[in-house]
């Protein structure tokens, strides 16, 4: 079964607003990663947060990790139309092996 569950499944916001997506998982992890997928194409790695980290930033992205609650969130600030995509969290249970969540479909309306 999938390790990660994400909510919401779909999110639609206005350009310029912030978008927050959440991911929960079940087992202990080495790290948690977020990927973006545009229109059913390949995935692009966005950011990785290790199990001993609580927060990480990369440009307009902010990721938090709460290992006690087995959850993570991805915040995209000042959203743009180009941010429209599906976003997946992936947990690394061991070296090289990733298990992906169900994903959040994000739509940015102009």
């Amino acid at each position: 079964s999938q390790q990660g569950e994400e909510d919401p499944q779909a999110l639609s916001i206005q350009e310029g607003e912030n978008a927050t997506m959440n991911c929960s998982y079940k087992t202990s992890i080495n790290n948690l990663q977020w990927y973006r997928q545009n229109s059913g194409r390949g995935l692009v790695h966005l950011i990785l947060i290790r199990s001993n980290e609580r927060e990480k930033h990369s440009g307009r992205l902010r990721v938090t990790l709460d290992t006690s609650k087995k959850s993570s969130s991805l915040l995209i600030t000042a959203s743009r139309a180009a941010d429209t995509a599906s976003y997946f969290c992936a947990t690394a249970l061991s070296a090289q092996k990733l298990v992906f969540g169900q994903g959040t479909r994000l739509t940015i309306n102009p």
């Binding site: 999938q2 790290n31 059913g40 390949g42 995935l43 990785l48 092996k97 990733l98």
Partner: protein, 116 residues
Amino acid sequence: SAVISQKPSRDICQRGTSLTIQCQVDSQVTMMFWYRQQPGQSLTLIATANQGSEATYESGFVIDKFPISRPNLTFSTLTVSNMSPEDSSIYLCSVEGTSGGAYKQYFGPGTRLTVL
């Protein structure tokens, strides 16, 4: 980072036929991964392919249905055999990379397969 290409990018196939998907990487890598993404779903790992050894399949996937070749460190193929409409999916290959000592994966653009 690795640059990965896949062929074909999409195909429409008839039930009962087979399709071989190619994955080419611009650098040598030890491990390559094959995923399936059914319509509207997340990614599911099919198998891990190491050069010079048999692929390791995940639960629910078997070699007879998804034979994999890994002839060298930059190339792999996945064959979807005896296809049925349920095999309609996006098939993605990926390779490992590292970021600050932690593993991440680089993905190819995917092959969109429709089985009629």
